[in-house]
């Protein structure tokens, strides 16, 4: 009896940010960006990493890509596929990741 309770407590400690214990599903679509920017935005290439950038910075860059005021090779085209709300959620996700 006692032991199984401890087990449950231990299990709960290990629930990750994205995980099965939540009742609302996580924003899986954010993983669209991982192909180029690396898993969780922790890339190590000439495509800039996104992990740890601030949320306002990311939102601002995407707005500039969409408006054409920041020149880009591909981001101006991809960013137009996402709503402002989705961009805000993606920005929050990357801002919360360790560099």
């Amino acid at each position: 009896m006692k032991r199984s309770k401890i087990h449950i407590v231990v299990a709960l400690l290990f629930v990750p940010i994205i995980g099965v214990a939540q009742n609302t599903p996580p924003d899986y679509f954010v993983a669209n960006c991982f192909n180029c920017h690396g898993t969780d935005g922790r890339g190590h290439s000439t495509i800039p990493p996104l992990a740890g950038l601030t949320k306002p910075y990311i939102i601002e860059q995407i707005a500039a890509f969409k408006a054409g005021t920041r020149p880009a090779t591909v981001m101006h085209q991809l960013s137009k596929g996402y709503t402002d709300d989705e961009i805000a959620r993606a920005a929050a996700y990357f801002a919360a990741q360790k560099k």
Binding site: H7, V10, A11, L13, F14, V15, P16, I18, G19, V20, A21, N23, P25, P26, Y28, F29, A31, N32, F34, N35, C36, H37, G38, T39, G43, H44, S45, T46, I47, T73, V74, Q77, L78, S79, K80, G81, Y82, E86, K98
Partner: protein, 428 residues
Amino acid sequence: MKNETNNRRQFIQALTATASLSALSGTAFAANKKSIGRVVVIGGGFGGATAAKYLRMWSGGRIEVTLIERNKEFISCPASNEVLAGYRNFDTLRHGYDGLKKNWGVKIVHASVTAIDADKRRVKTDHGGEFAFDHVIVAPGIDFLYDQIAGYNEAAREKILHAWKAGPQTLALRKQLEAMPDGGVYALTIPKAPYRCPPGPYERACLIASYLKTNKPKSKVLVLDANDKIQSKQKLFQDVWEADYKDLIEYQPNWNAVSVDAAQNAVTNELGDTVKAAVLNVVPPHRAGDIAQSAGLINVNQRWCAVDWVTLESTAVKNVHVIGDALMPGPTMPKSGHMANQHGKAAAAAIVEMLSGRTPQPTLMANTCYSMVDENRGMHVASVHRYDAEKKAHQPVAGAGGLSVEPNKLEGIFAHAWANTIWKEMLT
């Protein structure tokens, strides 16, 4: 039975190994977590490897994942055209499966899946035993329809290569090109769409032309396309061919190869026209990989697998999900590694949701295919795909996506960065 106990023991071992690493990777995998289900993934290419990793990541280690892949290592098709041109070392295409095991606790089995029993929920392999599952993800890529090209028998295949699956054929085709005399003809046949990697053949033509231009300038690249036009980045390829490879690349549309003659190194089309070449590169038409065929998953044009686009579950067999090149793609969705990665994530997300007792929601997908046009310059085509509830399929988002203005060096750098990143993304 014996196998199952074995599986479980090995799984726990894998988990224990992962637990010690969790502090480093930042992912909390506890050895004593309760499993919420078992998933078997068949095929460790762009789709399957990605699905395996994300099932572990998004379930917080609560889904037991076995990845069954017949090859000991992953060899990338993307960037393999650069090997043909001598611009890249073949070894850079080779990547191991250790990262999936060590970082994510995926159980890796190197064997061929020979059967899927969807009722009993088990897969059988040639020498790795049997595996029980709650869900299975089938990601076998493609196999070739050699019988559609008369004379393309096993003996002919020693000499006439496709190099449309990266591996020994990539190296062998490179050798043929190196041995080709200056003034020789390299001919490439392209099957009717849909085929793996729409821009791939035209990229290959560019890169081989680039190699020949410097090394064997009297030679010729003959592109024999079964389709009525260039299938991807049409204007971009036409412009490069005109500007850089004018007398080198010759393009013939509506050229459907129906037979080969290995002794003559010749290929013949439907109309009876025959072309002889010093190096003959025949890419046969293809369909979903053999296991999809034998498991009864092929239900479109006797070639491809139809799925529910929310769960990527087969419309033919329940609890069986299909991803990657084996799929009948949605509109404007290419058969690409990038897309297969996105399918893998969508299937993983849906299965995590189902095994957590929630209803899976449709998720966005995006694609970008880079092509190199010479050693340094790259260009892309991009698209974003959103689920349309009425059409019950992903549709390209209007106004999003698009093409490069022109090939350039910056995009060449990003093309290489893309490859390095996605290899890590799927395997580590």
